[in-house]
Symmetry: C2
């Protein structure tokens, strides 16, 4: 017979980063801290599930229909950064290197997983770019095959428009050691070398 505790552990183990073993540990930690962890966490999860919305403009997750980035008058509306996922948007914001607006695709084109331009809402993205003051589109999809295919597809669709299209630089990660780097990155870093 499966107890509620077993069910809880099972569901926790389906979270990314947790397996059966760490889910048990997490469940036990929650049980030992009912008042300070378990009940507040349950409450916060229910609250967030009910209050967080997807931004109608960029696809970010926030408490308002239009997210705080799209709503911020200080953001540069001439630059649009296209990313795959909300996690990528968060990463960009943590780095604090971009002051424009975003567009979350929600994934990449993938023949294998049956995601085409319609699923990613490419038409909606193109009309967003056309009906705006955007002058630069930064393609910041992952450096994977699917990510680059998606970037190329969008670049082609925009080739007739006036906007300038850029992509993130490829090369050595900061703090990365050469001998741990894959050949692809090394080749890119060599090709795009700059004068000191």
């Amino acid at each position: 017979m499966e107890t509620p505790l077993d069910q809880l552990i099972k569901r926790l183990s389906r979270l990314p980063g947790l397996g059966p073993r760490s889910a048990r540990r997490a469940a036990l930690h929650l049980l030992k801290n009912k008042q300070t962890m378990m009940l507040p966490l349950a409450q916060e999860m229910a609250d967030v599930a009910h209050s967080v919305k997807t931004c109608v403009t960029c696809g970010n997750l926030d408490l308002t229909d239009e997210c705080h980035i799209c709503h911020d008058p200080k953001r540069d509306l001439t630059r649009l950064c296209i990313i795959e996922d909300v996690a990528d948007l968060w990463a960009m914001e943590r780095a604090g290197v971009f002051s424009g607006s975003y567009h979350v695709l929600g994934g990449t084109l993938s023949a294998l997983e049956g995601r085409g331009p319609a699923e990613l809402g490419i038409d909606r993205l193109l009309s967003r770019i056309q009906n705006s003051e955007i002058t630069e589109v930064i393609l910041a999809t992952s450096a994977t095959v699917d990510g680059q295919t998606t970037a190329h597809y969008i670049a082609e669709k925009l080739s007739n428009s006036e906007v300038s299209i850029t992509r993130l630089a490829h090369g050595l990660p900061v703090g990365g050691e050469l001998n741990f780097l894959d050949e692809g990155t090394l080749a890119q870093a060599m090709r795009a070398r700059s004068k000191l």
Copy 2:
């Protein structure tokens, strides 16, 4: 300003095995699966927090005041296994090698953390052993300094009683490679070697 989402991520990151990065990933996974993950998980957590109790006899966590192990007429009541934590009890049950009953100490003696015999309820344990049909006490505390100190303390307290006191064998873990093993374990394994 800290949003409810930030709060949720912060609390998730306090779970054992999760850090800030994986907490964000988990939160995003929950948000993307509101109906199948986030809301059920919130509900299950609240349910379990309200329904799970600590067994009055052994200290196990279960849905009944006396846990299903203490309640099981098929368990051997002459053997008592003393462990530090509920997680250890779960591990023993998963291994399925013990059919007696348990006693969860809830930690070890620790001068550093200010846990003495009173905090672990050693008196309650001793009176439980005296007023029972227990003939063997298995000290299954961790092979750490604190764990072994606790085991020795309990063994000393029981030295005048009739029960036989045993401890788990120390040695090579199954599948363990000799060159990855610490010297202490290796020494124990050599000392306790057995004839083939």
